[in-house]
């Protein structure tokens, strides 16, 4: 039996809120399977299991906020005395209706295999049958168990079955177009209840069944709850976006960013460098490539800049790693953090893993995916926790240069400004070239201007041979 604990999703994270379980009691999880969606002050992230085993029970409810390290679920590891599920398969008796691994799973989950019908070949009971049966049990059990415990706090009879049953509140929220995560919960532990959802609906939209629901003016946050139009059926993805960034979320994100940046400026002796990148070759090459391609596989200048940065970071190790416990720990891998502005304000900087090893097209694909998920609030734990250096690309928003603040415990932040055409003197001739201002904010405890300058110069050099990026 192991306890699955609230993981740390970044140096600055102290607590997290479980906003969704991605598994249910009785599910078999492997290492790396996604278990829950956790809301930090910054974003919502999917967290994965570090154990293999069966989800025995949840120790917190959806909506609960707990400190890092708090057990949030129990996972029953495959018992040591029983061989692992795969091993006995080799000894499977021919003709057996229930293969040993499946029987073992059934045993672990407390399912009587004799009572379930198999859906496998020849009526064989397969894993899915067992898991389905276990899930059915678990759901019943959860319903029964939750009722008495939560009874006293239940504001409405309808909720007596599962007061903190967020699925219900969530479903309702989805139907009514209410931003669930922008609703402050009045339930136990701040859980959002149906009533909370209903009270967050603008008056004319409120369904009739709960006239006693609190006044809509109690809808929290500086922004009104999103109008139902945003919950149009085809906008499932969009709906996910809203909860992440809107309302109270933007505030808490702003606070988190503020706290982290204050810490950075207090602790890290920044130094700043700037250079103008000659992008004539890179832009000409990219435009040539894009001309041959459908929109879906076109490149953007950011992809080239990011790749060049990752390669340069690999070559200048003083820029890439963490400063912790009074010492610099260089990283052999380059996990390139990409600052992504969220539409309602604030930013997150998830990582493109091993960016130096990605082919440009791969990097472009992953960049698009990462930005989409960051905006939709669907980042994974590792992406938030481990960038080794971060890039902020303000060029898209039109400024010429940006001097970033280092994300602790990282030691360098690279900024790119807008790509513009500039008059450029070259070999005694004046011409027009694409150019962009690259800046470096770096940690003086780890490097000095000489190394920092080398790093920026290297980015420029690498961009002169874009086809080799």
């Amino acid at each position: 039996m192991t306890e699955f604990r609230m993981p740390s999703l970044g140096a600055d994270m102290e607590h997290g809120k479980v906003v969704e379980w991605l598994v249910k009691p009785g599910d078999y999880v492997h290492k790396g399977d996604l278990v829950a969606a956790v809301d930090t002050d910054k974003t919502v992230m999917d967290i994965e299991s570090f154990e293999e085993g069966v989800v025995a029970e949840f120790l917190v409810e959806v909506g609960d906020t707990v400190d890092v390290g708090t057990p949030i679920a129990r996972i029953t590891a495959t018992p040591a005395e029983v061989p692992p599920p795969e091993a006995p398969a080799r000894h499977r008796e021919p003709g057996a209706k229930v293969p040993p691994p499946v029987r073992h799973l059934a045993h672990t989950l407390g399912v009587d295999v004799g009572r379930i019908s198999g859906s496998g070949p020849g009526g064989e009971v397969v894993r899915a049958d067992v898991e389905r049966a276990a899930a059915a049990h678990a759901t019943e059990a959860a319903g029964e168990a939750a009722a008495p415990a939560e009874g006293p706090e239940a504001p409405a009879p309808a909720e007596a079955t599962r007061v903190r049953s967020s699925p219900l509140a969530r479903r309702l929220a989805a139907e009514l177009g209410v931003d669930l995560r922008g609703v402050s919960g009045t339930g136990p532990g701040g859980a959002v209840t149906e009533d909370d959802v209903l009270s967050a609906v603008p008056p004319k939209e409120t369904r009739t069944e709960t006239p006693a629901a609190a006044a809509p003016s109690e809808a929290p946050g500086p922004e009104p709850a999103p109008a139902p139009k945003e919950a149009a059926p085809e906008e499932a993805a969009a709906r996910r976006k809203q909860p992440t960034a809107a309302g109270g979320k933007a505030d808490s994100l702003r606070q988190a960013v503020g706290a982290l940046m204050s810490r950075s400026k207090k602790e890290i002796p920044h130094y700043y460098l700037s250079t103008t990148l000659d992008l004539a070759a890179a832009m000409a090459w990219m435009q040539g490539v894009n001309r041959e391609r459908p929109v879906s596989s076109r490149l953007v200048p950011s992809a080239l800049l990011l790749k060049a940065t990752a390669l340069a970071a690999k070559e200048v190790p003083e820029m890439n790693g963490f400063f912790a416990k009074g010492a610099f720990q260089p990283s052999s891998a380059v996990h390139l953090g990409v600052a992504v502005a969220l539409r309602h304000g604030g930013l997150v900087a998830p990582a493109l893993h091993d960016a130096d090893t990605l082919a440009l097209d791969q990097l472009m694909d992953q960049l698009r995916d990462l930005v989409d998920r960051a905006r939709a609030g669907r980042l994974q734990r590792a992406e938030m926790a481990d960038p080794t250096i971060t890039v902020t690309n303000q060029g898209d928003l039109g400024v010429e240069s940006v001097f970033g603040v280092i994300y602790p415990p990282q030691v360098a932040m690279v900024g790119f400004g807008k790509v513009l055409e500039q008059p450029w003197a070259h070999n005694g001739m004046l011409g027009i070239r694409h150019a962009s201002i690259a800046t470096l904010s770096a940690d003086h405890r780890v490097s000095d201007g000489l190394r920092g300058g080398r790093f920026l110069a290297r980015i420029d050099e690498l961009l002169q041979a874009p086809d080799k990026l």
Binding site: K241, Q242, V295, S302, R343, R368, D396
Partner: protein
């Protein structure tokens, strides 16, 4: 494609790429980057959605012509 259809297609595409941009923001003169705050990836996605829904493929060389809502609408109307 007539201009009204094009305008509808453009509004739908922008709504898909940037759900927080409401119809009231879609002033004809609104600049996609600066006013609607689409970044280069959003813009690429917009061009992709336009291609999917209207069949109008906007090559990179024509990006300057579609920098505003009206510019995009007339481009789609003219090429669709």
């Amino acid at each position: 494609m007539n201009e009204q259809d094009a305008r509808q297609a453009v509004a739908a595409a922008i709504g898909k790429v940037a759900p927080d941009v409401g119809p009231e923001d879609l002033d004809g003169g609104a600049r996609l980057r600066q006013d609607l705050e689409l970044d280069s990836l959003d813009f690429l996605r917009l061009v992709e959605v336009i291609a999917e829904t209207t069949g109008v493929d906007i090559p990179e060389a024509d990006y300057p012509a579609v920098a505003t809502v009206d510019g995009l609408v007339s481009y789609v109307a003219g090429h669709g």
